[in-house]
């Protein structure tokens, strides 16, 4: 494997690049988006299209639409429903997963049922929940939970099942209490899988947040974007879509920070194993 080393030495970039690390990372992260933005702007100048407005038109609409009152009327309620839904899904998924993962007969009993429920697309629950729970926050939060709980639950079950036998025996021989076992052995050991489950839930959660607001709603991001679309307010509609993307990224970044905190040991362990 000497070829890559040679190539690297011949490339001028690695020798001449004297940028600080953070700037390097920043450029790597936003380089492609900047290029895409430039292409978009260029195409808007060369061939204007009403359905695909120029970036500056959308930027203008963005500020006008979302900065100010609309933030509290539409954005904040949507995002808080999303966060509440995700948090509850995580709590329910982890608690239930701990139970099901620890009790063998229970697992055999409920696993097929889980598979069935997981296969049901949660958007189909929107009309049903509107009938039973009304059109308030509760129904919308329940839709988010119904979709996001499964990845957390199933991953937790797997994580709990795969706790190392020697670690279990160690806990037994040192007479740890059930609570100590859960807190110090089972949960941390399953944490990598639980976090992977939550990560999957984030994107499902955003989708369901929007869908739950497309009908039976008079505020919220999903409602507002649908409203703009039906009234041909194209730049406003696009600004809403972009806002959704921004929320998605913000959520992913926050999650990554949390993960770094919770799974610091795991990354270290993996790096040591690879070395």
């Amino acid at each position: 494997m000497s070829a890559p080393a040679v190539t690297r030495r011949l490339l001028p970039t690695s020798a001449s690049r004297r940028l600080p690390r953070w700037l390097d990372g920043l450029l790597e992260a936003i380089g492609l988006p900047l290029v895409l933005l430039a292409l978009w702007a260029l195409s808007a100048l060369v061939a204007p299209n009403r359905r695909f407005p120029a970036p500056w038109t959308i930027a203008e609409a963005f500020v006008k639409t979302w900065v100010g009152d609309a933030f509290f009327v539409d954005v904040a309620p949507s995002v808080s429903r999303l966060l509440i839904g995700l948090a509850l899904a995580a709590v329910i998924g982890i608690a239930l997963g701990l139970l099901v993962g620890s009790v063998r007969w229970l697992r055999q009993l409920v696993e097929p049922v889980f598979e069935f429920f997981r296969a049901v697309p949660p958007p189909m629950l929107v009309p049903l929940l509107a009938l039973t729970l009304g059109i308030g926050d509760t129904a919308k939060i329940v839709v988010i939970i119904a979709g996001t709980v499964w990845p957390v639950l199933l991953n937790t079950v797997e994580g709990v099942r795969s706790v190392d036998e020697v670690q279990r025996e160690t806990a037994t021989s040192y007479q740890l209490s059930t609570l100590q076992r859960v807190r110090f052995i089972i949960l941390p050991s399953a944490a990598p899988q639980i976090m992977a489950g939550i990560r999957q839930s984030l994107s499902i959660g955003i989708i369901l947040m929007v869908i739950s607001e497309m009908t039976n709603a008079s505020s919220g991001l999903g409602y507002r974007i649908t409203f703009f679309q039906q009234n041909f307010q194209i730049p406003e509609m696009w600004s809403g879509i972009i806002l959704l993307g921004i929320i998605g990224i913000a959520l992913a970044v926050l999650f990554q920070l949390a993960e770094r905190f919770v799974l610091g040991w795991y990354r270290g362990l993996k790096e040591t194993e690879r070395a």
Partner: protein, 272 residues
């Protein structure tokens, strides 16, 4: 109630212990006693059921018959006053906890914080790991990880310390150091040690007594007193003529165990 004055004579009593898995009898009849403060090595050919015996003693595995008593109380679950050091140090330490947290884990319920801290400092010092207290196990070498496991067991202040081939996975150099550490811990903390190994030299070097196991169905083939000087040293002890005699004797016993097994009419390859 057991007579307290009799406890120094037999802290741990194993009598007629039997363990079978279906038709396969692993342990046929194991009997021995350990006095308070003894260091006993259990050695046997691979497949003799050493780990099975140890897990029965530790209360992690239910025997099929016979008696195991600690301080006159039958062992049916892991006893409070017993600590186990497993062979797989990498799997028995929690990778999400620092060395200090790992060592204090068994003490969380029993010992107040200030006292716990002192105790952990003391045992980490005893195993020579004071500097690594805030590291994670995976940042340490295999030998150091096993030291952490030993420190954790010692901090638990057991009456009986059970070690299951603890040094099978470390290199020879480290192994010699760890053997001396076991002798040091044993002297310093006055704990009774049951040390399981397949290494004949190790058993003779470490033990006051060596119990030789046969092949399955396993019985105690010999219970041998090691009459080497109490002060042991990797160089001088291993160079003693008596050391050589003893190791040759144990070696012959183990060879005999294997040979007897092959002569048996129902001989079959032992399960690992």
């Amino acid at each position: 109630m057991p007579d307290q004055t009799s406890s120094p004579t037999a802290l741990l009593r194993v009598e007629g212990l039997r363990k079978s898995y279906g038709d396969f009898v692993t342990l046929q009849n194991i009997s021995f006693t350990a006095k308070q403060g003894e260091l006993i090595c259990i050695v046997g050919p691979s497949g003799a059921g050493k780990t099975t015996l140890l897990k029965c003693i530790a209360g992690l595995l239910a025997p099929s018959g016979g008696i195991i008593e600690l301080d006159g109380e039958p062992v049916t679950a892991p006893p409070k006053k017993m600590a186990v050091v497993f062979q797989e140090y990498g799997r028995s330490l929690m990778p999400w906890m620092t060395v200090r947290r790992n060592v204090e884990l068994p003490l969380l319920r029993t010992t107040p914080k200030a006292e716990r801290r002192q105790l952990v400092d003391k045992v980490l010092d005893a195993v020579g790991l004071s500097a690594a207290a805030d590291k994670y196990p995976w940042q340490l070498s295999g030998g150091m990880q096993q030291r952490v496991a030993i420190a954790r067991a010692v901090a638990y202040s057991p009456e009986v310390l059970i070690m299951d081939e603890p040094f099978a996975a470390v290199d020879a150099q480290t192994r010699a150091d760890l053997e001396d550490l076991v002798r040091y811990i044993w002297t310093k903390f006055g704990v009774t040690v049951i040390f399981v190994t397949h290494d004949i030299d190790e058993s003779v070097y470490l033990g006051q007594r060596v119990i030789v196991l046969s092949m399955p169905p396993t019985v105690v083939q010999e219970d041998l007193t090691i009459d080497l000087p109490a002060e042991r040293d990797q160089l001088t002890t291993r160079a003693l003529p008596r050391f050589t005699e003893l190791r040759t004797h144990v070696y012959a016993q183990i060879q005999r165990a294997k040979r007897d097994n092959e002569r048996r009419p129902d001989h079959e390859a032992p399960a690992a």
